[in-house]
Symmetry: C2
Subunit: 605 residues, 2 copies
């Protein structure tokens, strides 16, 4: 396993789990990347829909971005409430479950899990788009590059987030710097009336439809993808330095301000320079060329965009396994998801997230535009439930200024709830139906899992356990040939049971006769029973015989089937031997009171 | 398993294996189909190469076919010797092994196994070509149809050959009748100077090369594919009614005559009507249209061709598993291949053959022309070795007229040996290299397998087995929680060993404390040992502890690890439980003296 160690690092001791919390600069880098990076695709999606109605409709991108920024402000304000109320981690699942009940909690959890997968898929696709805008030759390999992107994230996350945090701070700040430079330069240039350094490549296509309310709603819905990731701070609050709540609130506010500036700035510049999606380039790439020309600054901008999208995907790699482990601890998901791996990360969750996102990238051909319609439904549902939960909490607790706090949360809840309806309505046919269908299926699976663990607990309970009686034990040794392995199995059987019986299933009568003869020498005191097999099956007659033995047994009577098992020096040599032990075990697994044991016989070569 | 019964029939009792042998008419149907059906592609392959040199070169098809028929006559004569010498089954492997030695025998076996796979793939591809010639709409689905073809053969053969024999007689005789009618009608029409009913569709392309010796050799090599299958009679002789040898010899002779007529007739007609491969049709299909027009007789001919090719593939389904079972009984292949399934057929061999042929059909896109270059190398190698073996046998035994008999075999051996050199030389770059590479690899694998079984036999020998001493037995019960399953496992452990020890691997110190507390109530006399696990691994500390226990043990000291195993009512519920038992078993498998037993705990729902 040395390559595993080299790739993932040596195991970490358990007590190191709580070490190394993040200060505000690092927390901003880790938790705001998802929201900030969405500038790379959200503005573009707005323009994509508006451009259907021609160049004049592009003017609507500013008010739409403004509306999104407004909702964002409400959500940020509302989540500031959450981080103060839940300094121990206030993900939507926890808040909704505690204040609204189990079912709303599970709905929020299902919605979030789906959106985490989409965050990874969309960020990977958009990151690849940033790369292929700068290097068009890579375009045909975008699915492969997207998957490579995932592999890097998996390795980074299996090593552990604390080391990753530092690695991922640089790209976030590089992106903030590059994007701010681009926007400020662009705004100054337009204010001074300077022409673009390089003219925008894509001509606006002729309008194919009028500016309808539905079109504006679609553009708004598409832009709402920008808001995913705001909840990241409240989820990951335990990774932030104390005082967690205050630091988290500050992080949230800074993030909101930067995002509003980026979002409005990009919309303004796209409008000013008449930039629309197309020509094999992202809108940000086109803006970069318009403002900087094809110089080094342009490449820095594209590189930083690709890198921050990777960091954004990484946010989901922190949140998804954390949520699945919480759900697993609450017995809504299999318990394996609750376990910390040997690098103190939830390895199973990381792998499930990466493979689901990889599946989406392959199915949707790594195309951001095709993935976006599935996106944001889940997050807005979780937002709404979480904030509604906060309203309930404040109304119940009635602390000082509770009316004001409840009003902040309620405003957020109403805004996101309204946005959710718009998103679900306008994106339904394009893909949102998949998510709307999956959420109840997930909730159903959570409940079934919970029920299973409930029954298991009941049946494993020690209440009314029968008093111990000594077990009456019969060992059965199936014999297909008399050799060293058989003799060892027989000796083992004699050591574990008082009654031992050898059984030969006769497929070939000559062989049966030979074994009967040899048994006189080697069998000792153990009786040999020969069972006929008309149809050359070994399993059938053996199972029938054991059923006869067990018929009418008492609870303290057991049968152990002792089989010799050949352990070969090389795995492929195992192919040279019948896997009867495996089949016998499978056939007897569901018979109470029957245990199948194999005694390994080791071949030295 | 009721669907399996419905598809494959109920199990057959062992004593029915020798029932129902085939008379000459059925034997001819079963064993000659491979050779006869090759008219469907062999003539076409000859013409394909000749047509490269233009229309004048097509005249060479008659002498080339004549040369092939001549070699065929020598091979038939030589195999008549074999069926008299080996009435119990004289496949090339047996004859070569017995008279030339183990290595030539294995080379023959490898060559034949490869060619059986190719017989299936080529026959399936050619059968599909016969269908798509008549119904061009099916052409795009040819790989799928080829695979369907294989599935039907697998089902038929898993049911058993005796029933299949009767089913497959009809198509063979239908083909013989349809083909004979077509050839006779065509020959009569050309003799009377009548024009074609429908003109041949494909124009002869302009010559791209001259008639060289190499071109003629390539055409000859391609046509040699017609000869595969002649050895089928000598392999399957035990399925023929007594007197087997005489009946087999008669079958061989009839087959040779029919094949010679078909082969020469088809070449003559193709030459007379200037028919060349192409236009999405096989040559036989073009001849059928030329002679019959697009009437019912044409469709009967195409249907019969497709059906006999299926029967031809079926020959390999009888021979391949028979040969693998002989090799397995001689310990050159895994023993599983020696076993008769519950329908008295060698199920494993049938499945391996079908999947290998399916693989070839997929890789070569179901195209006969691409498969042919791999074909015939194996069979001619096996022919040559087998006949050389017969020469040795006759020279050693010196029975009456042995010189004459040896001369017959020697002539056959020389003819096929020369043909083999021509085939290997002319087809090498087009695909024969694959076969020439595979044969030594197969032989190497046979020898390695044999060596493995030799070592196994040695190590399983009862010689010098230590005298029995009572086993000193310690049972270890890993405890992760105290529940009913743990208690049952503990009771089981107490029933099989005098010393029992419970072990808890402490990942969470609180949990460890809880278990230590509960143990006072439930542990009874069994001591509990708590092992620390710094890196949250259960396996590591347990294995280390067992290694400590086993350190310096004597040969009669053993450790049995007793694990509770959760058996859930539905298989998918198994996903809800850690598969630690499996991992523990894997980790301890290679430690001598350690047995891992799981005690099933059954959940009722």
């Amino acid at each position: 396993m040395s390559w595993k160690r080299w790739l993932l690092g040596t195991p970490l001791e358990t007590h190191r789990f709580s070490e190394e919390r993040l200060g505000i600069p690092l927390a901003l880098a880790v938790f705001s990347s998802d929201a900030l990076s969405s500038v790379a695709y959200a503005t573009e999606e707005i323009l994509l829909y508006l451009s259907l109605a021609g160049v004049a409709a592009l003017a609507y991108s500013l008010p739409i971005s403004g509306a999104i920024v407004l909702i964002m402000a409400m959500v940020v304000a509302s989540y500031r409430e959450t981080v103060y109320a839940y300094p121990g981690g206030g993900g939507s699942y926890i808040v909704a479950r505690e204040n609204l009940g189990v079912l709303p909690g599970l709905v929020a959890a299902a919605a979030l899990l789906i959106d985490y997968v989409l965050t990874v898929a969309v960020s990977a696709a958009a990151g690849v788009a940033a790369l292929t805008s700068a290097v068009p030759a890579l375009f045909t390999h975008r699915v492969a590059i997207g998957l490579l992107f995932l592999v890097l994230l998996v390795v980074g996350n299996l090593r552990g987030i604390r080391q990753s945090g530092a690695i991922f701070a640089a790209p976030t700040y590089l992106f903030i710097a590059a994007m701010a430079t681009m926007l400020v330069t662009g705004i100054v240039r337009t204010a001074m009336g300077l022409p673009p350094v390089e003219p925008p490549p894509a001509a606006v296509p002729d309008p194919t439809q009028a500016v309808t309310l539905f079109l504006l709603m679609r553009a708004f819905s598409a832009g709402c993808a920008a808001m995913t990731g705001i909840e990241a701070v409240s989820n990951g609050i335990q990774a932030i330095k104390q005082p967690e709540s205050r630091n988290a609130a500050v992080t949230l506010t800074i993030m909101g301000c930067i995002l509003a500036f980026f979002f409005l700035g990009a919309s303004y510049l796209a409008h000013a320079y008449v930039v629309v999606p197309g020509a094999g380039q992202t809108v940000i790439s086109q803006l970069g060329r318009v403002v900087f020309g094809m110089g080094p600054m342009y490449y820095v901008l594209q590189g930083a965009t690709a890198l921050i999208l990777m960091v954004a995907a990484n946010t989901a790699f922190a949140d998804f396994p954390r949520l699945t482990s919480i759900l697993a601890n609450d017995r809504f998901l299999p318990r394996q998801l609750a376990n910390l791996g040997d690098r103190l990360v939830f390895s199973n969750g990381i792998l499930i997230l990466a493979s689901s996102a990889g599946f989406l990238i392959i199915v949707f051909g790594g195309d951001t535009h095709k993935l976006i319609p599935l996106y944001a439904v889940g997050v807005f549902l979780a937002f709404t439930l979480s904030q509604a939960g906060m309203v309930m909490r404040q109304l119940r607790r009635r602390k000082s200024h509770f009316r004001l706090h409840a009003a902040v949360s309620a405003t957020g809840a109403c805004a996101t709830g309204a946005a959710l309806l718009v998103i679900a309505f306008t994106k339904f046919l394009q893909g949102a139906w998949i998510v709307i269908l999956l959420i109840p299926l997930f909730v159903f699976a959570f409940l079934r899992t919970h029920r299973h663990y409930f029954f298991v607990r009941q049946q494993l309970s020690l209440r009314e356990i029968e008093p111990e009686r000594p077990i009456r034990h019969t060992a059965i040794v199936p014999v297909s040939a008399i050799n060293r392995a058989t003799i060892y199995a027989l000796r083992y059987a004699k050591s574990i049971a008082h009654e031992v019986e050898a059984v030969h299933i006769a497929i070939d009568p000559h062989r049966a006769e030979l074994i009967r003869e040899q048994w006189k020498t080697w069998g000792g005191t153990v009786p040999l029973r020969i069972l006929e097999s008309q149809y050359r099956s070994v399993i059938g007659p053996l199972v029938d015989h054991i059923d006869d033995l067990m018929h009418g047994r008492r609870r303290n009577e057991m049968v152990t089937v002792v089989l010799p098992e050949f352990v070969t020096a090389h795995w492929w040599e195992g192919l040279f031997h019948n896997q009867s032990a495996f089949l016998i075990k499978g056939a007897l697994l569901f018979r109470p009171g029957v245990v199948v044991t194999s005694v390994p016989f080791h071949f030295s070569r």
